[in-house]
Symmetry: C2
Subunit: 197 residues, 2 copies
DNA sequence: GAGAAATTCGTACGACCGTATGATGGTATT
DNA sequence: AATACCATCATACGGTCGTACGAATTTCTC
């Protein structure tokens, strides 16, 4: 038995929370799709909201680490930021449910989960710092570094969130690897253009 | 009595649907905050999801019309698009609940509501057409017009969705009119930079 | 001002929710 | 082989959900 029950629960939960939101996803829907008993969530996680937090951590922690790593390299600021954008797309391709969950969390009126606040705050701060460097060396145009960082991050998030709108309006299906590559290239070019001095 | 009960229901529903999502908002929560009877939703709208659709229409129809109007003017493409971005911010300031609801709808796995699909599809198509004009006259850089249009629209949507992140990371509270103005200027500059040839 | 129409009200219903509990099965340790 | 332990199971509980329904009340019409 290579995959344990709790792993199946995590996978199904990630999918359903992304598709239908926290309140729109019942424990019964999760356990039945995971071919587990109704009590499996309580047994393995204690409560539904703990499972949700585990899903969030599973999505956010690796992303934060990879962004960290990408910003550590000794390269020009614009190159660093492009690599962050690529990391975003790469992470999203591996975890297609991420944008929906993140964005739901941001839209929520309730205080955002700790893991998300931490990861986003940290990454946003690092991005803003790199943008500040670029402004100092003249490679990036003037402007509030935090707002510029958000304008950059908006590209991978929104372009993935709008998958269906893109498919409907331009006939581009991002599940097709070729199309996905084109969208990534578009996003990196756009971010560079948006930052360039 | 200038404001009828159904108006109060619409207002409260818009607020709560934005804050807690469709499933996170109970009919009881709506009616009690609107100082109405539990049955008021059924009586005035027939069902909860009809009230939700009414909220969507209330948010989207005026926006679509204003985008239409802004793109009708005889001005250079870049100026038209900047005016669309300003229309977005203006509409969002008047309806602060819009980004959260729109984005939830996009994140939803269910087929998007007709009013949203229509308005967004139309506006996106018009924007892409204007971008095509700009590419033809050399004022806008090359690239898929639909993707470029989405990259533009992402700015007002995401910058408003990230209000709390902005407040936390940069100490900028967009409820302050001065700050809001700065964010709008940032967004218009960013969109121009992102499109410029 | 009486009657009709529109609205608000209290209440009830069945369905589903998240969670708790004790029984049951399988597996490793001694 | 007996025991302890972990995982899964069926089931039940109190609570909340959206909606239905008839009575009470307000508002409009003549």
């Amino acid at each position: 038995m290579t995959e344990h029950c709790s792993d199946r629960l995590l996978g199904v939960a990630r999918e359903l929370f992304a598709k239908n939101g926290y309140d729109g996803t019942s424990v019964r829907a999760i356990t039945s799709r995971a071919k587990a008993n109704l009590s499996a969530v309580t047994y393995h996680f204690g409560a539904k909201h703990v499972l949700y937090s585990a899903v969030l951590a599973l999505l956010m922690k690796p992303l934060g680490k990879r962004i960290n790593f990408a910003l550590l390299a000794e390269r020009p600021p614009l190159d660093k930021i492009e690599s962050v954008v690529r990391v975003f797309f790469d992470h999203i391709r591996a975890n297609p449910d991420m944008p929906a969950i993140i964005v739901r969390e941001m839209a929520s009126g309730k205080p955002v989960s700790g893991i998300i606040a931490t990861t986003m705050g940290q990454s946003l701060g690092q991005l803003a710092a790199v943008i500040g460097q670029g402004q100092a060396d003249g490679s990036i145009r003037a402007g509030d570094p935090t707002l510029l960082a958000l304008s950059c991050v908006a590209q991978p998030i929104y372009l993935n969130l709008a998958r269906r709108a893109i498919a409907a309006a331009a006939g581009l299906d991002q599940d097709d690897p070729g199309v996905f590559h084109r969208v990534v290239e578009h996003a990196t070019l756009t971010v560079r253009a948006l930052l360039r001095a």
